[in-house]
Each structure stands twice: as C-alpha cells, then as structure tokens.
Symmetry: C2
Subunit: 197 residues, 2 copies
C-alpha cells in the first residue's frame, strides 16, 4: 500500500499528541493511562515509546504549544496602533477563537499544567505570570486613557481569562448556538463590563 506521508515518524507523533489532548481533556492527565492512549491510537502501549519519551513529554508539548501561541499573540497585539480597549478586545477574541478551535489543547494546558515537573513547571508558570502581567498593563493603560472604567487590572484579567474558559461548557452542551453568536455574546458581555459608562 502506497504511503503518501514522507516523514512517517513525525506524523505518527502528531497523531499521538493530538489523541493525548483529547484523552487528557476527557479524563484528566493522571486518570488517563498510556494503555487508554494506545488503544485510541490503535497500537499496544509499549509501541508508543518508539515515538515519545514519556507521558509527561506529551503534556509538555501540549502546554508549551499553547503557551507559545499566546505569547506570540500578545507580542503582536502590543505593537498594534489602536486604543487600549481595542487591544483588549483583540486578545479576548483571540482567546475565544483558540478555545473554540483548539479546545482540547487549550483546556488541557489550562487545567493540567500542575502535573508538569520541574524545569518545565516553573518555566510554564513564569510564562503564564508574564502573560497576565502584560495583559493587565494594557488594561491599566486603558484605564488611564479613560476608555476603561477604574477597576483592579489583575482582577479584570482573571475574570476575562476564566470567563472564556467557560466555552468548555458550550462544547459539551447539546444545543449549541453558533460559534459566531457565542463569540459576539461573549465579547458584548466582557467588553461591556470594562467600558467607562
């Protein structure tokens, strides 16, 4: 049987990582076993180790993949020539989009990073802390320019990020409104909660 794929190894690994995301999301990192994962990939558990080093490596890849995308995005947004409030809205829309289209990875990275071990754990926590600080700084700027009402910026960031995490429930619900409607509703409520008057 002809194989179109040239780099079989890397493709196989991608499949494993993506199945791992789905499994870790569904059961949690600790409760998901490598035997579960093997079954969902369609091989024996031992065979997984020809493509990956360890279970934790899968978590690294998921967490840092997501973290990198967010870091890249905030670089981009910071250099935009728009109002602070518009920057905030762009970040909100990016988070919503990520949560809609890369649900499993984002969810796992958000809830299961605690199970990373230590060179990676502190690295991840630092990136996360940094990201939130930069997000808060944009809100702070918006407050100074009176576009955003005077609130505690770190609290606002925490509300925004967690609120968007609620898209989890949307994914799991049976009667979903459309992704577009969801996005506009969320933006309306979240940006509406920020604006001055």
């Amino acid at each position: 049987m002809a194989r179109i794929q040239i780099d079989k190894n890397s493709s196989r690994k991608d499949v494993i990582v993506s199945k791992a995301a789905a499994l870790f999301r569904e059961k949690g990192f600790k409760a998901a076993s490598m035997r579960d994962l093997a079954e969902s990939v369609g091989v024996e558990a031992a065979s997984l180790y020809n493509h990956i080093k360890s279970k934790t490596e899968l978590l690294h890849e998921l967490c840092f993949g997501v973290a990198n995308r967010f870091m890249h995005k905030i670089d981009e947004v910071e250099s935009e020539k728009v109002t602070a409030l518009e920057k905030v809205e762009h970040l909100i829309r990016f988070h919503i989009d990520e949560m809609i289209n890369h649900y499993e990875e984002v969810y796992v990275s958000d809830r299961e990073w605690k199970h990373l071990s230590d060179p990676y754990l502190s690295n991840f926590q630092n990136q996360r802390r940094m990201y939130r600080k930069r997000f808060a700084a944009i809100i702070e700027a918006g407050i100074k320019q009176k576009e955003i009402k005077p609130i505690d910026a770190p609290t606002a960031v925490l509300i925004l990020l967690h609120a968007i995490g609620g898209i989890e429930s949307w994914h799991r619900s049976t009667q979903k409104i459309s992704a577009e409607a969801l996005t506009e509703n969320m933006v309306s409520m979240l940006v509406g909660g920020l604006v001055n008057k």
Copy 2:
C-alpha cells in the same frame, strides 16, 4: 486528657473531609493518594477506613455539600421580591462569597466531579444542569424587562460562573487585594457587562 468533643467519630470524619478538600484541590482527585491524606490527618492510611467507606465517598460529600448550598440559595433568590437584575447580583455575590470562604470545597466540586461514579455522577450533573437553567431563566426575565441587555442567557450564565471561578488565582496570588475590593471589582465588571446601556 479531657476530651470536650462528644461525638468523636463525626468530628474525626469532618477533619478528614476537610483535609481531603485541601488535598484534592492541590493535587487533583486522582493524583492525591489516601496515604497523602493519612499523613495530613496524622494517622496511617488504613485507619482512615474506620471513618470513611472509600476515597470516592470523600468526593461525594464535597460535591453534594456544595451543590446543596447552591440549590438552597437559588430557591431563596427566586422568591425574593426584587428586580431580576438584583436577583442576578445576589447570586453573583453568593458565588463570590462561596469561592472566597469555601475555596477548597467549591473548587474541588467544580473541577473534580468527573471522578464521581454513576449513581452520584448523573445526580450531580442533573443538579448542575438544573441550577444553570434556573439561573438562565432569571436572566431571561431581566432581558424581557429590559433591565438586562439582549444576550444569550445560557452563555451569560456560563461566563458568570466561570469568571467567578477565577478567584482561584486570587487565592494563589501573593499580592492579594482585600476580599471586599475583589468582590466589588468583580460585581462591577460582571453586572456592568449585563446591564442595558
């Protein structure tokens, strides 16, 4: 040594349940072992089973304890003679208060209920679904009375509940603003995102 406690068994169990909440919050239900719990209580693992039936029983108690408080509260709020928007604000304040003062139980009930097993699991999911429906109905009423802007009510509920879950980050942060300041900031942003104009 005199013992003031009359019902030793029930007191001992309360300690175990509360230590379990802290441990499950910190490590996650699956990753927290009964040996960890025993150590934090100050006994051997086997001794725990004189007070509890199983590890899962601990999770039941935590999840349903929290669920019952919320169900009781929404009963109360529904019968209040105030505007729909005020009812929503009361629920928001209750959620914030619960998340500030019963952090560990609420957090565990929110994130670890997946590990319940099945008579309890469906029961819990039903209560949760019911609660959200009733919350959404209040918002719907507020929209009809033009107190609340026309948004998708289930989406609004999802945003509110998850946003308040963000208090987790406040608990873990080193430079906490006061509980009162946190509450007023959150109410301002969340209620502000709902009001019509």
